[in-house]
Symmetry: C2
Subunit: 313 residues, 2 copies
């Protein structure tokens, strides 16, 4: 049994898996595909495997993706071979929700202005601070991450409206709506927060009519995927003051090109796709991987967090 990690965990984390499975051969190789053909299991961030790689990886039966997004995997090649794919859905929820709350609270409590005034040694008490308390958030994609955002927002006294395909109840939402009712609710939301994955249904989901329906004071936050809307549409909505502010962690093209207009807009925050970042990331991945591997080795049990390659999540 050979297991290939296509990234290199910390020394102590490597020891942890080796110790748990002394009978297994582990390879931790960054951008080195020499062990592909002999690997039985691959653990990857999901951005480094091509259809060609899947062909080479003749023995692979399970790909564990240490990420929530799987849109960069070669879906067809994997499906055809019937390879089991699992991910780490849910482990992003804590850092992601903390990032969303951090950005939102920073804007409400005028932190960017406080930092700027400090640079100028300027004691300026005339700030337009406001409160989260008593406001309304619309959350697109109330899954593990979206529901955690909802839980924290509710603690701050924010009214939460969740929006998914079915409109079926999700945790920590005061109200749920289905996607086809979104235009009715956008005018009520002080914040529109997307944590939607990239699927056929979510790509280009938001058009100019959606930004137009938002409050002029709305803060729009995209922490899902950069293909949710055309950036030109968001740009126009900002320029025409249809919305007040955008906080973006994901983009059509990443890294965001150096000459992109978003960088220099003072009503846009550019975050370089790091909202899920946390020192606890790999440890949490192993917390999921180790028990799954134990069961897999025992009786080829299907791992938790199974991904449906056809649905895309």
């Amino acid at each position: 049994m050979e297991i290939l990690f296509t990234f290199v965990p910390r020394e102590d984390q490597q020891e942890r898996v080796k110790k748990a499975f002394p009978e297994v051969e582990f390879y931790f190789l960054d951008r080195d595909k020499t062990r592909l053909s002999s690997a039985n299991i691959i653990v990857t961030y999901g951005e480094d495997l091509t259809a060609e790689d899947i062909k080479s990886a003749e023995k692979v039966e399970w790909i564990m993706v240490a990420s929530a997004g799987i849109e960069k995997l070669p879906h067809k090649a994997i499906e055809k071979r019937g390879i089991t794919v699992s991910n780490v859905k849910g482990i992003h929820k804590t850092p992601m929700a903390e990032s969303v709350l951090a950005h939102l609270l920073a804007l409400k409590r005028t932190l960017p202005e406080i930092y700027q005034n400090q640079q100028k040694h300027l004691w300026n008490k005339k700030m337009s601070s406001s409160e989260l308390n008593g406001t309304t958030a619309l959350i697109l994609g109330p899954g593990a991450i979206g529901s955690e955002i909802g839980r924290l927002l509710q603690a701050f006294g924010v009214n939460t409206i969740g929006c998914n395909r079915s409109g079926n109840q999700a945790p920590n939402m005061d109200e749920m709506i289905s996607l086809d009712k979104i235009l009715d609710k956008l005018p009520l939301a002080d914040y529109v927060i997307s944590v939607l994955p990239s699927t056929q249904e979510t790509q280009q989901l938001l058009g100019k009519e959606h930004f137009n329906a938002m409050k002029q004071t709305a803060i729009f936050m995209n922490f899902g995927r950069g293909d949710l809307f055309a950036e030109t549409v968001l740009l126009k909505a900002l320029q025409q003051k249809e919305i007040a502010f955008a906080v973006l962690d994901v983009f059509e093209q990443e890294p965001l090109p150096e000459d992109h207009v978003f960088w220099s807009m003072n009503r846009v925050v550019v975050s370089p796709h790091i909202s899920s970042k946390s020192g606890k990331y790999v440890d949490r991945t192993l917390d999921i991987f180790i028990p799954n591997l134990k069961k897999w080795l025992a009786d080829r049990s299907v791992p938790t967090n199974l991904v449906d390659m056809e649905k895309g999540y």
Copy 2:
């Protein structure tokens, strides 16, 4: 009956009190003391009354302070006359707690670096983001504001230790200690957050031994009053890396002098005493004032949020 506001509320707020009490004469006068001698009640932010003013204000029986801190009132002159003093304790809790969480989350999720990199059009994913989740906070002064901070921190999975004079239980604290045990607990805290008022007991409460006892990674936050410690002591603790970071909303001297070293330290955030700021402030003051005034006019009932001028809070 004459009531003097020493600040000028918004037009609609003025209408609100006038409408509630058509029989009362209201004066809303900023830095104009011509109506002092005839006022029966004064509503003030608590920073503009001298002992001389109290002498002039012959008819005053009740001073309502639209603030939590009353240290700038002329205590002796007021006590001698037996004037009733009440404040708006509690109305700061929402904006203050949101400010504390905003600053804390911003540091944990590296917002200052994100903003700085945006100015440089720099896509840098190598951030040392960490999580509130699983950390420990020591809260000095778990009253209305401190307990609200505790409630929000607990929602983020933070272990809360409250510290007051008695060590008696306070809401939303996983543990309570008395002030004389503080040195035992400082080494456990990732954040030390003070919202203590200025009283004889809290002035210069923290000395170098306290900062020395904190974690080297600790974030120290002072959102109470600027006389809690000597700033030279904090400065030394920062320079000697006994603590990692300070977020200060209050100072020994306010406004903070333009040439103060804190302005240019990148491990200090200078906030110009605005953490309690909120558009809802005067409305909430009136929410407390109006029912109190109704009862006062009916039968001279003692207002809620009575202040003990001797204790100082």
